[in-house]
């Protein structure tokens, strides 16, 4: 009888810790500020509803990829708040990537504003050119209306990205050398833009408004 009482006590303790396992797991992730943000933000709301509200995503620092993926995983559980605790590490990582992309977008916007203020015209943005080294997508295509020359600009918003020389950067470098030597014509929906020069610039992103 005493053994049976011990058994039930153990079961009760296990259940108690079982029910607390989610908050403990969540607290375990709060070492990262981004993770802490995501948990505290989504705990107070209906997560699945907010996650699909696309206009709000940037406000929370998420891109659509991360949230959609979290929701796909979340379909396996009935606790939407738990989804974000469970995948908090993943979301934090994605949020970091997204922060870079947001900074990059702000840098390109700022660069375009400056180029136009200095008499250049923007022909296109995120325009793709085919080269023997693979497709090359330039951030901005600029036209100098005084000379008629058109060139592609790759905007790097941080020194790290500017100096990076990993596989992707080497592909960009090779494609740029090809375009600078032989020229290239854009493909896809922006077909018909021919450039024969490219440049990569460091243009730090302005602070968030």
């Amino acid at each position: 009888m005493k053994r049976l009482a011990h058994f039930w006590l153990l079961v009760a303790v296990a259940c108690l810790f079982g029910s607390l396992s989610w908050p403990i797991q969540a607290l375990g992730h709060t070492s990262s500020p981004a993770t802490c943000f995501s948990i505290s933000r989504y705990d107070g709301h209906n997560a699945s509803k907010i996650a699909y509200d696309a206009p709000l995503l940037p406000e929370y620092g998420y891109d659509s990829d991360s949230v959609l993926l979290a929701n796909e995983k979340g379909n396996q559980t009935t606790r939407p708040d738990g989804v974000f605790a469970k995948f908090a590490g993943f979301l934090a990582a994605k949020t970091g990537v997204n922060a870079n992309r947001l900074a990059g977008a702000r840098a390109v916007d700022d660069f375009i504003a400056n180029a136009e203020a200095n008499g250049m015209q923007v022909v296109g943005r995120e325009t793709t050119f085919n080269t023997p080294f693979g497709a090359r997508r330039m951030d901005v295509i600029l036209l100098n209306p005084q000379t008629g020359s058109i060139g592609g600009v790759e905007v790097k918003s941080s020194l790290g990205a500017f100096k990076c020389f990993d596989a992707d950067a080497r592909q960009q470098f090779s494609a740029d050398r090809w375009i600078n030597t032989f020229g290239a014509t854009s493909v896809g929906e922006q077909s018909g833009i021919t450039i024969n020069n490219t440049l990569k610039i460091l243009w730090p992103a302005p602070p968030e408004p």
Binding site: S64, V123, R125, G148, E189
Partner: protein, 204 residues
């Protein structure tokens, strides 16, 4: 929203807008209809901004089938001979894009898109869809008149127009002079001209 789904959403919206203006869909986000001596191409480059919205603009292109064999050989029919982004046809010429998150946003943009197409894009296409007017503009010495053609592309198109209009010696001279000027230039400035020169030479 992912880029592909944004493009699909936009395409179904634009297909409706374009068909009301008698355009036919060539491929996703590219629509065409014949106009005078050319075919007008409306293409809508779409990108996904990291801040959330899908962004799109419009390029107005004219494809002169009579010039294409000399200029781009066997290029796809969606490649225009000349092209202008819609924002560069506006008064202030600053780069602008329409933004959307969902179908509702696109419906709200419908009037603005149709207005720009009818008031800006189509008059431009109508005006330059015949060879004499195209030639007159390309013969200008002001680079701003060359649509968004670079100096070499402008000479190529001009020579092709001269050739098709019967001025064959003039067309070859235009290109020969250009090659002489670029004798020591990089291949990117010579090769496109040499290619057109070769095609014109073969067609004589």
């Amino acid at each position: 929203m992912k880029l592909d789904s944004a493009k699909q959403l936009l395409d179904s919206f634009l297909q409706n807008v374009a068909s009301a203006l008698d355009f036919q869909r060539v491929e996703r986000l590219v629509y065409t209809r014949p106009i005078n001596e050319a075919a007008v191409l409306l293409s809508f480059p779409c990108r996904l901004d990291p801040r959330g919205p899908g962004c799109f603009g419009c390029n107005v292109g004219l494809r002169f089938q009579s010039l294409e064999p000399f200029l781009q050989g066997e290029a796809k029919p969606i490649v225009p001979t000349i092209m202008m982004p819609l924002h560069l046809l506006r008064e202030n010429k600053s780069f602008t894009e329409w933004q959307f998150y969902a179908t509702d946003d696109l419906e709200r943009l419908r009037d603005a898109v149709v207005r720009d197409l009818t008031k800006i894009a189509l008059p431009f296409a109508e005006r330059y869809s015949n060879l004499p007017e195209l030639r007159r503009r390309l013969e200008s010495s002001i680079p701003n008149d060359w649509f968004i053609l670079g100096p070499e592309q402008r000479l190529n198109v001009l020579a092709a127009v001269q050739f098709v209009q019967g001025d064959k010696p003039g067309a070859l001279k235009t290109l020969d002079d250009a090659l002489l000027e670029r004798k020591a230039a990089l291949p990117s400035k010579r090769l496109p001209i040499e290619a057109v020169r070769r095609r014109l030479g073969e067609a004589i």
